[in-house]
């Protein structure tokens, strides 16, 4: 029988893969994809607890708010990436070291 822990394990795997993407990628767009994976894993957790543990649907409401924030975050982050590309001609995060002493 499929229970709460199945969903939590899937969510933990997605979270770990997202962290992996954020840690290892040099391309800024790829790092953003890792962040989206992390947000999705949080959403799976919320919806799973909403079904198996709370008995009402408040968890789904929180998941919708997370989706809203993720959309806003993606738009602003891509705007930053585009303007970074315009200024330093690359999206390699190692090259964005203007503030480095």
């Amino acid at each position: 029988m499929i229970g709460l822990s199945h969903y939590l394990i899937i969510s933990a795997a997605l979270f770990s893969l997202g962290i992996m993407g954020v840690l290892t990628r040099k391309n800024a767009v790829n790092v953003l994809m890792g962040v989206e994976l992390i947000l999705n894993s949080a959403n799976i957790n919320l919806v799973a607890f909403s079904k198996y543990s709370s008995g009402n649907i408040s968890g789904q409401i929180f998941a919708i708010f997370i989706i809203v924030v993720a959309a806003a975050e993606a738009a602003v982050a891509l705007a930053i990436v585009l303007s970074m590309y315009r200024i330093i001609k690359t999206v390699n995060l190692d090259r964005a070291d203007t503030l480095k002493g």
Binding site: I19, Q60, I64, A72, A75
Partner: protein
């Protein structure tokens, strides 16, 4: 009983699709391949929502993530690379330390998930949720709802401000 087995097979299929394509997102060399693997991850997550009885959320996931964020990411890839740059490789670094850290995080989380005795409250019945969600938004969560709409407006204006060409 047979129905239950079928449900399990479908669940494990979508779980494998989600995690497998997320692995492709993280490990693929080509950027475009990463973006298209992300499509399958979002689709798998939407299927998991449907499994959890969250039909409205599954539809929202499809519309916003697949229709919105994924297209935005594709635009990001296309606009930040020269068009003749066909291979669009993404470099990786610190792979081995990252694998150690990530495996540590995963086994820590999985260990706690499996060891904890989760509070098993009333399992909510599988009913259409759209009407209930709309009612909650208009009654209990009216303030967060309005704040979220203002946040979206600010993000819209801010993103447009950041990327506009400065004319001086």
């Amino acid at each position: 009983m047979d129905n239950n087995l079928l449900a399990q097979i479908v669940f494990y299929f979508f779980a494998a699709l989600t995690v497998g394509s997320a692995a492709v997102v993280v490990f693929a060399k080509s950027l475009i391949r990463s973006v298209f693997a992300l499509l399958f991850t979002f689709f798998g997550v939407a299927a998991l929502y449907a499994f959890l009885g969250a039909d409205f959320l599954a539809a929202t996931q499809m519309v916003i993530y697949v229709g919105g964020i994924l297209v935005l990411l594709l635009f990001g890839v296309m606009l930040t690379h020269k068009l003749y740059d066909l291979n669009l490789k993404s470099e990786r670094y610190q792979v081995l330390p990252a694998i150690v850290v990530v495996l540590g995080i995963f086994f820590l989380l999985a260990g706690y998930v499996l060891r904890t005795r989760w509070h098993a409250g009333g399992q909510s019945p599988d009913a259409p949720t759209t009407a209930a969600i709309g009612e909650l938004f208009m009654k209990d969560y009216i303030l967060p709802f309005e704040v979220a709409s203002i946040l979206l407006l600010i993000a819209l204006i801010g993103a447009a401000m950041i990327v506009r060409r400065r004319s001086e």
